[in-house]
Assembly symmetry: C2
Homo-oligomer: 146 residues x 2
């Protein structure tokens, strides 16, 4: 069997091109470059502005509008997850698994909460026909001003 004809459903994390294809997104120059910036490393939390800046300084010619478009397309495709911690700015997280966040409000810094953070919840009684989509937990922290 020719390996080149083999279509795996388990893609290595670094097979960005394959992940785009699986998501039904054309690997255009800009999209592929953005996806590589985002998905090749470990967990990252980015804003559109920040990703745009990274892209530009990496020599990728892309507009901010395209960055926004792609961030949303990635999110819809399940490659990213949106995190709401601050009104007025949107963060995207490359870690799409269930986990919680720590937010340094004054610095605008978002981090994953360590796995040693435990919050036990008992879902409340919900009205008829209401379904939980997800439960978001944000630990708001600040540095001592010594």
């Amino acid at each position: 069997m020719d390996i080149s004809t083999h279509t795996s459903t388990v893609r290595p994390y670094t097979d960005v091109l394959g992940r785009l294809r699986d998501a039904g997104l054309r690997p255009t120059r800009q999209r592929l470059a953005l996806a590589r910036l985002l998905l090749s490393g470990g967990g990252r939390h980015v804003t559109a502005e920040a990703l745009h800046a990274s892209a530009i300084s990496a020599g990728i010619k892309v507009s901010l509008a395209t960055v926004y478009n792609n961030l949303h397309q990635f999110t819809t495709a399940g490659l990213l997850r949106e995190v709401v911690v601050d009104s007025g700015i949107t963060y995207f997280d490359t870690n799409t698994t269930e986990h919680h966040h720590m937010y340094y409000e004054s610095e605008g810094l978002l981090e994953d909460a360590g796995s040693d953070f435990v919050i036990e919840t008992k879902l409340p009684e919900l009205p008829e026909g209401v379904r939980v989509k997800c439960v978001d937990v944000v630990i708001r922290v600040e540095r001592d001003t010594n």
Copy 2:
């Protein structure tokens, strides 16, 4: 002892004027009216726009900018609490005690979660000099589309 000279530190919930004074905020016509709208009832979740609309339809002449100003002053004074559930819109909660929220994203509806929701929280190890300000929990829900 003349009752009128008595200064209580425990104000009835409906003593809006006293609460403003305690907060060091002048009871101007607009501020007092907004405070009454907000603080006289039970728990409420409002946006600036919504409060402005309530005020106008209650016959109170007030500008949107003033509503924003006052919402922030109330928040700083501890009379309100800001709730972040959606980027692009700010909610204010008249319930300043520790509790969590349920959010109907598609409707923009925010509600308190029952107090039995969070059972136990074990905070993570934090870096040196980092302090927890608060832990926010948002249950994102949606209605079945039957």
